[in-house]
């Protein structure tokens, strides 16, 4: 029917400096993205994108960010993200860049994608880790996530057989 449609951009903040992710704040990030859109797309872009713009989810440990924007102008926001080159906090500048992982129409689809992405990332971490203690901790997380995945699948099948 008649409603405002949004696009949710799931991005990952990639940086060399480990302090960069910890200094991530939703107000800092929101103002940074708005300034970049104003620089790249002018007053028209800034006005068009800032109506429905919001930072919906922020994880300082993994650097995952979920941005919301209106469906008509999501390409302006998306195209301005590669031009963000540094994060400024309390006078410190950390060079970083944004990697867009997924564009979804709802938060639920982005969450489903994020769960699968995190599972794959755990397996990659398992391959790359060197320390024995870390290896055990990651293996435990991997088995826990596999059990959760089996539970989800069985509940979905049960729901289908009910119908």
């Amino acid at each position: 029917m008649v409603r405002f449609k949004h696009r949710y951009l799931l991005c990952e903040l990639v940086s060399d400096d480990p302090r960069c992710r910890l200094s991530l704040d939703d107000r800092v990030l929101s103002s940074l993205v708005r300034d970049t859109i104003a620089r790249m797309h002018g007053t028209f872009g800034a006005a068009a994108c800032s109506i429905g713009f919001a930072v919906r989810y922020l994880n300082a440990y993994t650097g995952i960010v979920l941005l919301r924007c209106r469906k008509e102008f999501y390409q302006l926001v998306w195209s301005a993200l590669p031009f963000i080159t540094y994060l400024e906090n309390k006078g410190h500048r950390y060079p970083c860049f944004f990697n867009t992982l997924h564009v979804g129409g709802t938060i639920r689809t982005c969450q489903k994608f994020l769960i699968q992405y995190n599972r794959k990332q755990l397996l990659i971490l398992l391959q790359n880790c060197t320390d024995e203690g870390e290896r055990e901790a990651i293996q435990k997380s991997v088995t826990r996530s596999c059990l959760l995945e089996e539970e989800e699948e069985s509940s979905e099948e049960a729901a289908e057989t009910m119908e």
Partner: protein, 124 residues
């Protein structure tokens, strides 16, 4: 006797020209302000950059001819950027603190059409 079948061929031109040409004139509120061609182009690009940002300020815009006395010029812009250029010329208000306005005299996808303007036709 039935007529012989005729073969028809239909050719549709959506927009054969990839550039649009604009004849514009810059008017200042006070007299005595001069710009050379480079300053004129810089003014155009800064107008587009203000409204549409750096991405659209990089559109391929050319000044084909420029008259410093009357401050009029013929511009060439790719067709996808015509609306953006025209709207940013409309919203440009001042140059170095002095009030000015762009008057768009003619717009056409063909350069030849700019050679004659029926509005300036003088009937004897």
């Amino acid at each position: 006797m039935p007529a012989p079948a005729a073969t028809y061929e239909r050719v549709v031109y959506k927009n054969p020209s990839e550039y649009h040409y604009m004849k514009v004139c810059l008017e200042f509120q006070d007299c005595g302000v001069g710009l050379n061609a480079a300053q004129f182009k810089q003014l155009l690009i800064s107008a587009v950059k203000d409204l549409f940002g750096e991405v659209d300020a990089a559109l391929p815009l050319d000044i084909l001819c420029y008259e410093e006395k009357t401050l009029s010029a013929i511009l060439r812009i790719c067709s996808s950027g015509l609306v953006k250029l025209w709207s940013s010329l409309t919203l440009l208000g001042s140059y170095k603190g002095k009030k000015c306005a762009f008057r768009v005299i003619q717009v056409s996808p063909f350069l030849l059409a700019l050679s004659g303007n029926s509005r300036e036709l003088v009937l004897d």
